[in-house]
Symmetry: D2
Subunit: 341 residues, 4 copies
Amino acid sequence: MISFASDYIAGAHPQVLKRLVQTNLEPLPGYGEDPWCVSAKDKIRAACGCPQAQVELLTGGTQTNQIVISTLLREHEGVVAAKTGHISGHEAGAIEYTGHKVLELPQRDGKLEAEEVDRYLRSFYADENREHMVFPGMVYISHPTEYGTLYGKRELEALSQVCRTHEIPLYLDGARLGYGLMSRAAELTLEDIAALCDVFYIGGTKVGALCGEAVVFPRGGRPAHFTNAMKKRGALLAKGRLLGVQFDALFTDGLYFQLSRHAIDMAEGLKAVLHEKGVEFYLESPTNQQFVILDDRKAEALKSQVAFSFWEKYGPDRTVVRFCTSWSTTAEDLELLRSVL
Amino acid sequence: MISFASDYIAGAHPQVLKRLVQTNLEPLPGYGEDPWCVSAKDKIRAACGCPQAQVELLTGGTQTNQIVISTLLREHEGVVAAKTGHISGHEAGAIEYTGHKVLELPQRDGKLEAEEVDRYLRSFYADENREHMVFPGMVYISHPTEYGTLYGKRELEALSQVCRTHEIPLYLDGARLGYGLMSRAAELTLEDIAALCDVFYIGGTKVGALCGEAVVFPRGGRPAHFTNAMKKRGALLAKGRLLGVQFDALFTDGLYFQLSRHAIDMAEGLKAVLHEKGVEFYLESPTNQQFVILDDRKAEALKSQVAFSFWEKYGPDRTVVRFCTSWSTTAEDLELLRSVL
Amino acid sequence: MISFASDYIAGAHPQVLKRLVQTNLEPLPGYGEDPWCVSAKDKIRAACGCPQAQVELLTGGTQTNQIVISTLLREHEGVVAAKTGHISGHEAGAIEYTGHKVLELPQRDGKLEAEEVDRYLRSFYADENREHMVFPGMVYISHPTEYGTLYGKRELEALSQVCRTHEIPLYLDGARLGYGLMSRAAELTLEDIAALCDVFYIGGTKVGALCGEAVVFPRGGRPAHFTNAMKKRGALLAKGRLLGVQFDALFTDGLYFQLSRHAIDMAEGLKAVLHEKGVEFYLESPTNQQFVILDDRKAEALKSQVAFSFWEKYGPDRTVVRFCTSWSTTAEDLELLRSVL
Amino acid sequence: MISFASDYIAGAHPQVLKRLVQTNLEPLPGYGEDPWCVSAKDKIRAACGCPQAQVELLTGGTQTNQIVISTLLREHEGVVAAKTGHISGHEAGAIEYTGHKVLELPQRDGKLEAEEVDRYLRSFYADENREHMVFPGMVYISHPTEYGTLYGKRELEALSQVCRTHEIPLYLDGARLGYGLMSRAAELTLEDIAALCDVFYIGGTKVGALCGEAVVFPRGGRPAHFTNAMKKRGALLAKGRLLGVQFDALFTDGLYFQLSRHAIDMAEGLKAVLHEKGVEFYLESPTNQQFVILDDRKAEALKSQVAFSFWEKYGPDRTVVRFCTSWSTTAEDLELLRSVL
């Protein structure tokens, strides 16, 4: 069966796996102190154009959000996010588990708007009872968003400006960052993101790795004792090499960008097939996730031939479903989809 | 340079890695719902002789301890452990991070004694002020212990009996379980452990996998919404296959036991070399970790040729250091060690 | 200066204080095991018409919300509340501090609507990804609400029905419960509330006591080891008598209801004065809190003669402010207000 | 029945209660911003000889320990305490509930020894794996200790020196501070304590108040947003005046010291009675708590006439019990005890 169910249906990009095989028997120190971690971090710094950046390698997205947010926030602070942000609704309360509130704001196409954030922050600081409230201590965005949409350059600049004015960090969740950077509609480069955000992560799990996310603090500011914080949250791998080798491979010869571009090419092909077959779009995105509306009967019938994923009910008889491409999607997959739609 | 620094110096056992390569492009569902996870769990159930067991796959040891302990304990409970237990001193407070106390008891060779635990529990329940205290809600042991020692069959039976009398679960941390099972001094089989403990984990990270620990609830009793609990703690891998494929490989054709036996054979060889060279033992264990005492000068000199690990200072001029073998240790490593000691 | 700043501007009702003085030197056991606590709980059970009710005495409102919610919720659950609920915005993240999310829903006049809650719960259970989300494990409402408004009988019945259908408890925050019960618009009696809610608290701090809130589980179901949970959160008073004596006094000869009725009489007088003086209402409530809109200049001038409290900005030059009455408000206070408005 | 069960058997010292009555109807701002809180803090600063001190008023001892410790510790730190420290065993895990470990050290007569602490800290910093461990971030002592014993001046100076050398704060739990200061064996004044500790609290609950503890940061350093931290933990009283008025009364005309001296006089009388009657001491302390060993039969018989408290079993047929005096103990109480022993 072909699958467009998610962007984590396959293992690692073959190039990444090959490097795991090649380095497998090297005796290396544990806990991220091996040379592959060092080298991966160097290459990431270079790709971001930030020689001074601090880089940390973690295993998964929710884990990364949890650690970054809970270590950067101070005792009295929460994190501002879109109502549809991944941390707001789809991480099982991982942020609240660390004792911090997610301060949810309205969104548009999955995005936070700088004006909305600014209004919220101003109103918070105008409130005389604010000592009884959760202080907004960080702004969280995802890029691409949970709907596959992208921030434009001006939009991110405006958010960055608001955060700087109010002196709180801007954190970008890049679980699918590669697909955002390689989108045909992309306005933002990795360097732009490094310049405009205070911390962000480069997603590996959904972009070519078996697992792994690289957190970047482009101008420093990593919380002290970060290793301890990772350990305390069960996030420190004994074999840190698993992350180091993979990110080293992904950032060698531009592999991360190439495989992301492939996923985008496949997404454009996917959209063409869906349009050709007259499928109604709920949200057509410039990245690797496409949201369409299917009759429940149609969806049911299709299920036996193509894997896709449930998004939400859309009236009594229809459902929004998601089709994803990834680095592992092939032209044959698209052909097969065309033949069964 | 040769390394006896730890049992996580190499990647995965070649057989495990091969299976990751073979299955790499299969499109599979995420979050542990793939057939390899199902198959791995079946094989683990079979190996434990527990067809009814519930099995969960996690990524690392501290993470596993944190999730198992914090989901099994009730609000008012803490976990009883040896002062030298991994959760007591070497997990950066991961248990306390979840709001629960580690109730530390004295140990002997890294082991908790049933009598000591019983005395503690009786004394707790005799205390009229116990509602102001942390209730002992679970007993945690490691096998092999942090010192490489093993529980005898009678010892584990006695602990199990104490726990049943007081109606609290017995949890066994098996980060190095394979090395305990294959030790020449082993009295306990996997079936014994499954019969005597209420929950335990079979360590993968230190026994042939890149990462991964398999939690076993031999007679059921897994906390409800365990997936949610994993997600909430950042422990749910999108590509659960990474764990499923590895454990499936480890429990195919007895690989887990074979590679463990190899590590034990190497450990016996290591002990012979150390004795031959007149190295003083701090603790000679029946498993893969050996603790010896080196003059600081000797240790310093040796460092450039052999990797080992610091354990603790031993008077002003000497240090306890640890030498480990693992599935990846070779006879050549031992020869090289002999030549430089 | 006269004060309408809040309903906690004075100490205890003289009758309550008198009882503290009378009982002061009695040697009593600590931690809530004294006869006054026993007697207070009996009287509260009687007032609620619930001879089987479990009653617990706590010190303040946020503390009460924190303990009730965090002990009743299970690991994977959060609490559903109105966006304007006290726990949502004005308790400094006390619920999240315990690791649980507040699931915020839209409100109308500070109230949750049964239909809205039902829709939310149905949609949650229809979501195939719900294991990655925070489960709704309780519904929180306040009565009177933060805006002084009241649930009608049908409204509470409908909410109660929704909760029972979905098998989650309905919790009512009664910080100002007396003022709700004695409102001239009241449709709900204490017995009704006990019949329709699974747990609620009768506010003392704002209704005649120096401090103290009485949590009622009308049909039992108090979490086990509640005393331990209180202690663990720093909420167990050594001199529990402080709460027992006060609640005993409040529930002797209907004092709680009498003093509440007085506050309502004063509130009606307050509304008359405000109307008479042409002050614009933002929200005219049937209880003891009135929200009016003042020009900033007017507000500034008034401040030196009357205390009231800031609520929120209302356009560039105006502000919503709150005037409260309580058991301690006097007819003279109203006269003085009339003279300076 | 006469009671020596604890030092919280009575309400407030009559002088304290009188002030509550006198100020009861004053309309005052809430949340600790009233003039009585201001005045109480001024008087405490004066009594400590620390005009720059920051003072905060809280409700109970466990609450105070929880807030002070959890706001002063950083993410990666725990608190060092004696195995018998109140936070170690008798606060239901309140510190761990905030995510921090209590690092328990051996004690002598309930006291931590400077050398022991120093050895522990040095050994911690010598450990190469310390990033995987809980950092010692504070030293907690109680004075008087849980056994009624006192630190001598040299002992506290030595502890203070160790803390300064290692740059971690020294925190003194003064739940019964008055009884320590007025002990006939006292070597330490309030000024000494303020000079040698970084933060401490002056206990009110057990020393004349209905409730209340005053935290003193003698040279500043109170964590930012302390009010928010209190609110978040359910510890901020709406009627902060309850604490302000009481501490103002306690620190007016030396009442706190006078009533403490009275308790000490009664304790000396108590010891004389116990000796006279040939009761065996388990620990005879210089403060208000005395620990004696009773035959179980004797204890059982005595119970109907005198209240005292269970401490621990002492062999099969005997029990250690505690007799306490307090500001409310009278000479008649002692006479009655003599007559029934």
